[in-house]
């Protein structure tokens, strides 16, 4: 990466962190009120109570460095605690998985198939539609540039490579994280709140074996298949746009794509999908199991599961890019 690129990144990162610091500290200036959640500023009427919030004279100044330190410390402890819980969760899941391997009769195929249908088959329309549109957009954006140089046919390279390597696996994973990852967290979270998880344990059913493993297995099978489907629809979208905007016929397009896109590119895209699937299923189930208390906690954990799984999917995708470029794939 050249030095201008690095500069841009450094600037962006520092600007972001400054903003976050400022926001975090400004939050301290407002008296956090249990009902309005700190939305009101000092001296203004609290909408829920209809009375004035008095400034707290003993509260430390917002720029007090100790406050910042305390905040950093608290969030670090929270992070460690989360990592610890995640490791425990992974361990229990791995143990249940080993149980399955040694005793295949215990594998709950019906639950796996059910999850395969809800997370895989039922997602076909939305995955197909969105990747088709993505193909259209990529071709459309490329069309203008390519036309200037009379390089119309290269739209096949553009659409083929970008869809198969990057966009199809990523958009599929993101849709599935929003669709199924959130559903996993909500389902398990609700079961935790209504004592169903406890009930499972007391009647001698290991919750991980019933609620987590079938979801992981089903998603690891379903996501690569969905990615292939997204590949096809994405390229189709690109083809439609290439014909409309650049006058590149379907036969021409496919002919060029077959030359430009190697089988490796296609497989690289598919190979990421199982990893994304494992991330989505694990994060969704993990956040579900962390639900404590009531219904609001279910909502919080569900949101968290979607944000975290999309974040981790994109991080994993970036790591894949680095790994593949090192491996020259």
């Amino acid at each position: 990466m050249g030095s201008p690129g690095r500069k841009v990144i450094v600037l962006t990162v520092s600007a972001c962190s400054l903003n976050f610091c400022a926001l975090a500290n400004i939050g301290q200036v407002f008296d956090a009120h249990p009902v309005c959640g700190g939305a009101q500023t000092r001296g203004r009427a609290c909408p829920s109570l209809g009375r004035l919030m008095k400034p707290n004279p003993t509260a430390p100044a917002w720029h007090d460095y100790r406050l910042v330190l305390a905040r950093v410390g608290r969030s670090a402890v929270g992070l460690f605690e989360q990592v610890d819980a995640m490791l425990a969760f992974l361990g229990e899941t791995a143990l249940a998985f080993v149980g399955w391997l040694f005793n295949p009769g215990r594998i709950r195929w019906r639950v796996v198939l059910f999850n395969l249908r809800t997370a895989g088959f039922d997602a076909l329309p939305i995955v197909g539609l969105l990747s088709f549109l993505l193909g259209v957009v990529v071709a459309y954006q490329g069309a203008d540039q390519l036309r200037q140089y009379g390089a119309n046919i290269f739209v096949a390279d553009l659409v083929g490579l970008s869809m198969l390597r990057e966009f199809a696996p990523l958009i599929t994973a993101i849709i599935v994280a929003g669709r199924s990852g959130s559903a996993y967290a909500a389902q398990i979270g609700t079961m935790a709140v209504t004592e169903e998880i406890d009930a499972l344990r007391t009647i001698g059913i290991e919750p991980h074996e019933l609620l987590v493993l079938p979801k992981i297995v089903a998603l690891v099978i379903a996501l690569p298949l969905l990615t292939v489907f997204a590949d096809v629809l994405g390229v189709l979208g690109g083809m439609v746009m290439a014909k409309a905007q650049l006058g590149v016929g379907f036969a021409e397009f496919l002919d060029r794509m077959a030359k430009a896109v190697s089988i490796t590119s296609y497989l690289v895209g598919i190979a990421k999908a199982p990893v994304f699937a494992a991330i989505i299923a694990l994060v969704g189930c993990f956040q579900g199991f962390r639900t404590r208390g009531g219904a609001d906690s279910v909502g919080r954990q569900t949101t968290r599961s979607v944000v975290q799984s999309i974040f981790l999917v994109i991080v994993a995708d970036a790591l894949f890019s680095i790994a593949f470029s090192v491996l020259d794939l």
């Binding site: 209504t194 004592e195 406890d198 344990r201 007391t202 009647i203 001698g204 059913i205």
Partner: protein, 277 residues
């Protein structure tokens, strides 16, 4: 600490809790709790909110590990159990959860049949028959079996949950707030049901409850938790005589006295003829 009546000492211990302590971080929930439950006894744990009743119950049913001390249930020490032993033990008791804990994706009959489907080799038809029998035992109509838990009222949900707890013919039954949220008539139904289960099936029953009527009607002994320790153990009549500041509030006030007099009106004539022990 007043202990059990002399006749109970000879009977078999179903639950034996010794020197039990529980901490959540710095917060101490229990300190050195000792209590014993005998076979075919109806035993209740009471105490104010946050006194650790639920935690104690969760520790007895292997859902939570105490910080120190030992618990023996049905003669088996709970600490360091292997998965197989824990499973064997879990199948010997039934638990009715406060909110039922019924699985929302299954019908009531499937809920009741689930433990049998998991752990026995009975055919589907046999399981359905047994499940229907358990449903009838808890006083629910047969058509309830085809409904989903979301369609049930609170009282029906508790009965259905009890039917599931009874699915594998347990020796020991744990009830978490069996009458909370029920109308007086349904609550009275639960009183009868508990007595019926103990007398007909010889079950040992451990419950958490705040319901004074239920406590007066059905319990043999009651343990009062307060301030992290066991304040007192004894029959309701014994406890009502105590001067302990953490026990007294349960028996004072209009509600406590009303339940007491109601209990005397109902149980007095019975007590002389049939004292189950």
């Amino acid at each position: 600490m007043a202990n059990a009546s002399p006749s109970a000492v000879a009977t078999e211990l179903v639950i034996d809790v010794r020197q039990l302590s529980t901490r959540f971080g710095d917060h101490v929930v229990h300190r050195d709790i000792n209590l014993q439950v005998h076979r075919a006894e109806v035993f209740a744990i009471i105490g104010g909110n946050g006194s650790g009743k639920s935690t104690l119950l969760r520790e007895m049913i292997l859902l939570h590990q105490p910080s120190s001390g030992s618990i023996k249930v049905l003669g088996v020490a709970l600490k360091g159990l292997s998965r197989e032993d824990a499973l064997d033990l879990r199948l010997r008791w039934g638990v009715m959860f406060q909110h039922g804990g019924l699985f929302g994706s299954l019908t009531v009959l499937e809920n009741i049949g689930l433990p049998m489907r998991e752990h026995t080799k009975l055919s589907d038809a046999e399981i359905d028959d047994i499940a229907a029998a358990k449903l009838a035992l808890t006083g629910l109509k047969p058509e309830v079996g085809a409904q989903y838990p979301a369609q049930l009222s609170g009282g029906m949900m508790k009965r259905a949950s009890l039917a599931r707890a009874l699915a594998l013919d347990p020796e020991l039954l744990f009830l978490d707030e069996p009458t909370a949220g029920l109308d007086p008539q349904s609550a009275a139904g639960v009183d009868e049901l508990v007595l019926h289960l103990r007398d007909q099936l010889g079950l040992t029953i451990v419950m958490i409850s705040h319901d004074l009527d239920l406590l007066w009607q059905v319990t043999d002994r009651v343990a009062v938790l307060g301030d992290g320790t066991l304040q007192a153990v004894g029959s309701m009549a014994e406890l009502s005589q105590l001067d302990n500041p953490l026990v007294k509030p349960f028996f004072e006030g209009a509600r406590g006295r009303a339940a007491h007099t109601a209990a005397h009106l109902i149980t007095q004539p019975k007590e002389s003829s049939s004292k189950p022990k």
